[in-house]
C-alpha cells in the first residue's frame, strides 16, 4: 500500500503502464496540438517559444520607465508592470495609508501623466504591455497614451488581470462591493472587445490567490468558477462570446510538483475548450484555445539560502515550458525578502534564455503527450477540477458565496493548512524545514536581499500639488458624469472612466466616486474626505 501523493492529493503508483490508459481515446482527449480540445496546446508549431518577461515596476513612473527600457535591452520580449501596494489598492500616493509604501513594491501610478511617463519612448504599437494593475485604470492609461501618440487602440497588445471574485479576500482588496467589481470587469472586457480587439482584457489570474497555499485542483477550480460567471454575465449583456473569448488568458501558478503542474495546465486547456464550445457555444476556434501565461511560485521560495531559489525557478520554468505556456515569469530569487533587484531580474531572464536557447526542450510541442503517467495525471486532474467546481457551485450562486465571505474562509483555511504543513515538515522546504544552516553560514547572495527600495515620498507632495494645479472644474464635471452613469447601472462605464482620467482625475478619486455611486464610503479607511 503506497502513501505517495501529489500536492493535490492524487495517489501515485511506482510506475504507470498501458493499462492505466486502457480505453483512452486519444482523438477525443488529446487531438493534435492546435486542435480541439487543445490539451496539447494552442499551436502546432513550436517556433517562437514563449513570451519571456519579468514582473517589474518600482519607484515613480520615470524610474520604472528606465527599468522597462533596460529589460527590453536585455532581450525581454514583453512587459509586465505591477503597481505598488497603494496603486493595487486603488489609492493615491497621498492617502495616509500609503505613506511608507509609495513605489516600494511596484510602481506608483495614479494619473494620466504617470502613464505618459511610464510608457515614454516605448514602442507601444509593437510590444506587449501587460499590467498587474487595477484593470479599468490600466486600460484607460494605455488607451489614452496610445491615442495621444497617434497609435490606434486596435493595434494595442497586452493584457490586464480581472479578479472580481477573489481580489477582496486575498491580496488585492480595493474595498468595493462585489456587484461593482463584477460590473467593472465586464465593462472593461466589453469595451476592449470593441475598441482594443487584440488586447487580452480578461486574464483570469489564478496565481495570486493560489499563493494563499492552494493546491492545483483548487487553484484551477476557483479560476473556472470565476471565468464561467464573468462569461455568463457578459452574455447577459449581449456581448457575443466570440468577440471576447479569444482574448481570455489564464495566469497560472507553478509550484514544485513538477508533473502535477504540467498535468494541471494540460487539463486546464481541455476544460476551457469544452466549456467554451459545449457550454457557451463559441464558434471561433480561437475562443476554444485559452492562452496560458504563468508565474513560478513565490510561495515556494525560501528566505534561507536564497541561491537555492534559482534552482526552484529553473525546475518550475522547465515544467511550464514542457506544458507549453505562452508567457512565463520566474519569481526572482530574492523575492522572499524584497521587490526584485536588477541582479535577480537578470538571473531570472537568463534562466529562461538558457532553457529556451540551450536545452532544446522547446523544439517539439507537448513532448510529454502519450506518457502513461502524464496522461493519467492529466485525466485525473481534469476529473478532480471538474468535481471541485461542481461541489462549490452546488453550494450556491458563486456571486452570493463571494458576498457572504465563503471564499475568504476558503483562503484562510488554505493558508492555515499550508503553514501547518510547512511547520510540520510534511511539505518539504529544503533550507527551511530541513537542511538548515546557521545564519552565520548563510551568506551567499545575502547582501542582495538586504537591499531595499526606499519609499518614494516626494511623490506624495507632487500628487498633492498636481491636484491643486489641474483644472478642478473639468475634473469635477467628469467625475460627476461617471458617478451618475455608475448609479444608473445601464451604460458601460469605461468611457466615463477614461474621460475622467483624461480630464485629470486620479485613480483614487475615480475609485471613491464609484464607491459613492454604490452607497459605499468614498474612502474605505475613513481617513480622507471626498474633495468634490
Amino acid at each position: 500500500m503506497t502513501r505517495k501523493r501529489t500536492r493535490s492529493g492524487i495517489p501515485l503508483k511506482d510506475f504507470y503502464t498501458a493499462e492505466d490508459l486502457s480505453g483512452f481515446d486519444s482523438e477525443r482527449r488529446l487531438g493534435a496540438p492546435g486542435e480541439y480540445p487543445y490539451t496539447r496546446g494552442r499551436r502546432r508549431q513550436a517556433e517562437g517559444g514563449w513570451m519571456q518577461r519579468e514582473l517589474s515596476g518600482e519607484g515613480d513612473p520615470a524610474r520604472s520607465n528606465a527599468q522597462l527600457q533596460y529589460l527590453l535591452s536585455q532581450g525581454q520580449i514583453g512587459l509586465d508592470v505591477i503597481g505598488d501596494s497603494p496603486t493595487m489598492a486603488f489609492l493615491d500616493p497621498d492617502h495616509p495609508m500609503a505613506s511608507h509604501a509609495v513605489g516600494t513594491q511596484g510602481v506608483s501610478l495614479c494619473c494620466l501623466e504617470d502613464y505618459r511617463v511610464l510608457y515614454r519612448d516605448l514602442p507601444l504599437d509593437s510590444i506587449v504591455v501587460s499590467g498587474s494593475l487595477p484593470p479599468a485604470i490600466a486600460v484607460a492609461g494605455l488607451y489614452l497614451v496610445a491615442r495621444e501618440r497617434g497609435i490606434s487602440p486596435d493595434q494595442l497588445r497586452g493584457s490586464v488581470i480581472q479578479a472580481p471574485f477573489y481580489a477582496e479576500d486575498c491580496g488585492y482588496a480595493i474595498h468595493m462591493p462585489f456587484r461593482l467589481r463584477l460590473r467593472m470587469a465586464c465593462d472593461c472586457i466589453a469595451f476592449c472587445a470593441r475598441e482594443m480587439p487584440r488586447f487580452h482584457s480578461f486574464v483570469e489570474d489564478t496565481y495570486f490567490f493560489s499563493e494563499a497555499g492552494l493546491n492545483g485542483v483548487d487553484e484551477i477550480a476557483l479560476g473556472m468558477i470565476e471565468i464561467r460567471h464573468v462569461v455568463k454575465e457578459l452574455l447577459k449583456r449581449n456581448v457575443p462570446i466570440d468577440s471576447f473569448a479569444p482574448r481570455i488568458a489564464i495566469l497560472v501558478n507553478c509550484g514544485m510538483d513538477f508533473f502535477e503542474e504540467i498535468a494541471k495546465i494540460r487539463a486546464t486547456r481541455r476544460l476551457f475548450a469544452r466549456m467554451m464550445r459545449e457550454e457557451f457555444g463559441a464558434r471561433d476556434r480561437r475562443s476554444w484555445s485559452v492562452v496560458i501565461t504563468s508565474h513560478t511560485s513565490g510561495l515556494s521560495l525560501t528566505a534561507e539560502q536564497p541561491v537555492n531559489n534559482i534552482v526552484r525557478g529553473t525546475i518550475q520554468s522547465l515544467a511550464l515550458v514542457l506544458a507549453g505556456v505562452q508567457a512565463l515569469e520566474i519569481s526572482a530569487f530574492d523575492e522572499a525578502y524584497r521587490t526584485p533587484s536588477p541582479e535577480s531580474h537578470r538571473v531570472a531572464l537568463r534562466t529562461q534564455q538558457i532553457v529556451y536557447l540551450e536545452s532544446n526542450v522547446s523544439k517539439v510541442v507537448d513532448p510529454l503527450a502519450g506518457s502513461y503517467y502524464v496522461e493519467s495525471l492529466t485525466d485525473e486532474m481534469e476529473r478532480r477540477i471538474r468535481e471541485r467546481v461542481r461541489e462549490i457551485e452546488s453550494m450556491g450562486d458563486p456571486a452570493e458565496l463571494a458576498e457572504k465571505g465563503w471564499f475568504r474562509r476558503f483562503f484562510e483555511q488554505a493558508m492555515a493548512e499550508y503553514a501547518a504543513a510547512v511547520a510540520a515538515g510534511t511539505l518539504p522546504k529544503v533550507g527551511h524545514n530541513m537542511f538548515r544552516i546557521s545564519e552565520e553560514e548563510d551568506t551567499l547572495l545575502k547582501e542582495i536581499v538586504e537591499g531595499k527600495i526606499e519609499p518614494c515620498r516626494e511623490r506624495i507632495g507632487a500628487i498633492r500639488r498636481y491636484k491643486e494645479t489641474r483644472n478642478v472644474e473639468s475634473v469635477r464635471l467628469a467625475l460627476d458624469a461617471l458617478r451618475k452613469r455608475a448609479e444608473e447601472e445601464r451604460e458601460n462605464i469605461m468611457p466615463y472612466v477614461i474621460e475622467a482620467f483624461r480630464a485629470g482625475a486620479t485613480m483614487g478619486e475615480i475609485g471613491g466616486m464609484l464607491r459613492l455611486a454604490y452607497g459605499w464610503p468614498y474612502d474605505p479607511h475613513g481617513l480622507v474626505e471626498c474633495p468634490f
Binding site: S85, P86, M88, A89, L91, P96, M97, A98, S99, H100, A101, T104, Q105, C170, G171, Y172, A173, A212, G213, T302, A303, E304, A336, Y337, R338, E412, M415, A416, Y418, A419, A420, A423, H432, R436, E439, K446, V449, E450, K452, P455, H525
Partner: protein, 134 residues
Amino acid sequence: MKKIKVYIGTLGLDQHELGALAVARMLRDAGMEVVYGGRFNLPAAIVKTCLEEDVDVIGVSCHSWEHLFYVPEILELLRQRGVTIPVVVGGSVITPGDRRKLVEMGAAQAFGPGATEREIVESIRAIASGRDRT
C-alpha cells in the same frame, strides 16, 4: 493564572496575511488569547485597540519593509500615552539586518522567516511574563 493576551494584525496596505493568521493560530493553540486585528491597520488604531483590550503583547507583521517605519511610530504613540506594552514584529521579509534594526529601535523581539513555532510561542510567553513582573 490569567491568560496571556496578544494583539495580532498587519500594518498599512500590506495584504499578505498568511503569516499573521498562522501566528494567531499557534498562539491560540498554546493557550493564549488573541485579539485579531486583521489587515489595514495604522499605528494609531493599533495602539487604541491594544489599550482598550489591555493586551500583554502587541504583535504586528508586514510583508514589506514598511515595518521599519511603522514600528517606531507605534513605540512613540505608546510612549506618549505613558504605557509600556512590548511590541513584537514578525514577517517573512524581515532580514537579519532588519531584525537588528528593529530591536535597536525598541521592539521586544523580531521574527524572521526562519523562526519556528516553538521559538515564537516561547518568546512571546517570556516577554509577556517579563511584563507582569514590572
